[in-house]
């Protein structure tokens, strides 16, 4: 493992037709670190996660994980290497039961699932009482948590959370941020994409501010909010709060 990161993204480019959703994005994240990825709508946060998790192949630049190039590797192999994610719009297996959703990941996640017991995970994320119901019966917050539990069942070393906190009430926000911090303390590298700045301030060690497919700032949120360029793309937008 290299000194400065489990994941390193360098000059990453992703095009959709002639449009550059990512136009040379660079950043890294280290084991045990919680990195915030923030930026206005359409700035390429989800696209970055999609490329890192193997949904799209990059059109340029590189992605390395433990110093191995992984750009363009198919998702299930990345999962076996230790990368997993949640989705901005949750994507559970709707007709399968909540428990089956997790069992699939445990059986195929491939990382010697060992200690993770499905029912313990479900209890930890407040889904135990729905274990035998179809995932379609869950509300959208619960479906996001199921996405997270499914990801955790594969015991990721790099976890990408795409707007996990959106839709949570303040008590739930405190609860989930303590969960995320605990995961990082056990050595997981975590990237948190979020519009809720209070939440970002609460959980992240460092943030990358993105605009139009590139990073425009790297550092702590406290410093970020004083950088004119950041204020311009952000506080000019609708997420001033």
């Amino acid at each position: 493992m290299s000194r400065d990161g489990v994941l390193r993204v360098t000059d990453l480019v992703k095009r959709f037709g002639g449009f550059f959703a990512l136009g040379g994005l660079s950043f890294h994240v280290s084991p045990g670190e919680i990195l915030g990825l923030v930026g206005p709508n359409g700035s390429g946060k989800t696209t970055a996660i999609n490329v890192i998790s193997g949904l799209y192949a990059p059109d340029g630049g590189s992605v390395t994980f433990d110093d191995a190039a992984i750009g363009g590797t198919v998702s299930h192999k990345l999962v076996h290497l230790g990368i997993n994610r949640t989705f901005q719009v949750p994507k559970p297996f709707l007709s399968l039961t909540v428990r089956q959703n997790v069992e699939v990941a445990r059986a195929y996640g491939g990382r010697r699932a060992g200690a993770t017991v499905t029912d313990d995970l479900l209890a930890e994320y407040r889904l135990a009482e729905y274990a035998d119901r179809p995932a379609a019966d869950l509300n959208s917050v619960q479906q996001k948590l199921l996405d997270l539990v499914r990801a955790l069942a594969t015991r990721p070393r790099l976890l990408l959370l795409d707007e996990l906190a959106a839709g949570l009430n303040p008590t739930e926000l405190d609860w989930i941020s303590s969960k995320i911090k605990a995961l990082a303390q056990r050595g997981t590298a975590i990237i948190v994409v979020e519009h809720l700045m209070g939440f970002i301030a609460q959980v992240t060690d460092r943030v990358i501010v993105m605009n139009a497919g590139k990073e425009i700032f790297e550092g702590t949120l406290a410093v970020a909010v004083q950088v004119p360029q950041v204020i311009e793309v952000f506080l000019g937008g609708e997420h001033a709060a």
Partner: protein, 307 residues
């Protein structure tokens, strides 16, 4: 899971196969019994590819016909023993399935239509007069040398048992669960670590194998047939309708579908053919409107578990 496999196998598969093994002794219309066995296998073949992976194979008969002709060709040209020829029928269908794996890149109706076109292409390839020396082209085949309905029926029963074993396995294994995950959401399935493409191909080839073996047994049983007989779209349509009627992604759904719908078909079809189309049509419309997930959903809606 192993315990459930054994339980489902001994409570569903064994009794069903046993009943169809005994029936010829007490019921004279052996052809009808044979057709029941063939449709039970084909409906489960559709179950494997549609119920567990979500691909609706409008051209499923392509594998059946390819199997029938695979059987005929090795019997005619190589004098192969009938049982060996049935195995080759399965192999031919699997090879055709491999050739058609690019279709799996399509989804929904596009897949179904491309599959239908592929089945027609195989039909016209086989029926091409230029291939008369190999397939007898449009003139059909006559396989009097292997004619043995009793053995062909027993073989069809064996194929049915194998098919049901595959479905019981899918219903009780993480492999089957992963296939259903792929059906529900391939992106999420990949993030659960499931090798999506490989899983789809395996299910596709398994369903091709079932139809190919069934086609081989069919060729053996009837021994005289034309391309239009074994590539008849009725096989695809019936197998799909039976499976959907009972309810896919279950073991018993397609069985119930075949027993009821093919039973009704033969009952009304023979006695009062004038009402048959009407009743059949109404039955299917009612099902699609009120029970889109099949008869078994009457039970699953109440929260009962249906194997």
């Amino acid at each position: 899971m192993l315990r459930d496999f054994i339980r489902h196998f001994s409570l569903i598969v064994v009794p069903l196969v046993a009943v169809f093994a005994v029936l010829p002794a007490v019921y004279d219309n052996h052809l009808l019994l044979f057709n029941f066995v063939i449709f039970l296998a084909l409906a489960q073949g559709v179950n494997i590819i549609y119920g567990f992976t979500g691909y609706l194979p409008f051209g499923y008969v392509g594998f059946f016909g390819a199997g029938a002709y695979g059987f005929a060709i090795v019997v005619m040209h190589l004098n192969a023993p009938a049982l060996v020829a049935v195995a080759i029928a399965g192999l031919v269908a699997v090879l055709l399935g491999l050739l058609l794996t690019p279709l799996l890149r399509l989804t929904g109706a596009y897949f179904s239509i491309a599959n239908l076109a592929a089945a027609l292409a195989v039909l016209h390839f086989v029926a091409n007069p230029a291939l008369e020396a190999v397939t007898r082209g449009p003139y059909g085949v006559s396989l009097t040398g292997t004619f043995n309905p009793t053995m062909a029926y027993a073989t069809a029963l064996g194929i049915l048992a194998l098919t049901l074993a595959i479905v019981v396995f899918l219903k009780n294994s993480s492999f089957g669960l992963a296939l259903q995950a792929v059906r529900e959401d391939p992106v999420s399935a990949a993030m659960a670590g499931v090798p999506v493409v490989r899983m789809r191909v395996i299910a596709w080839l398994a369903s091709a194998l079932v139809a190919g073996l069934a086609g081989g047994a069919f060729a053996w049983y009837v021994s005289v047939f034309y391309p239009d007989n074994v590539f008849s779209s009725e096989f695809s349509i019936f197998a799909i309708v039976f499976a959907l009627f009972g309810g896919v992604a279950t073991i018993v759904g397609p069985i119930i579908g075949v027993l009821i719908l093919y039973g009704v078909y033969n009952l009304i079809g023979f006695t009062t053919p004038q009402y048959f189309q009407l009743i059949y049509g109404l039955l299917i419309m009612g099902l699609v409107l009120f029970l889109p997930a099949g008869l078994v959903s009457l039970a699953t809606r109440r929260g009962w578990h249906v194997p």
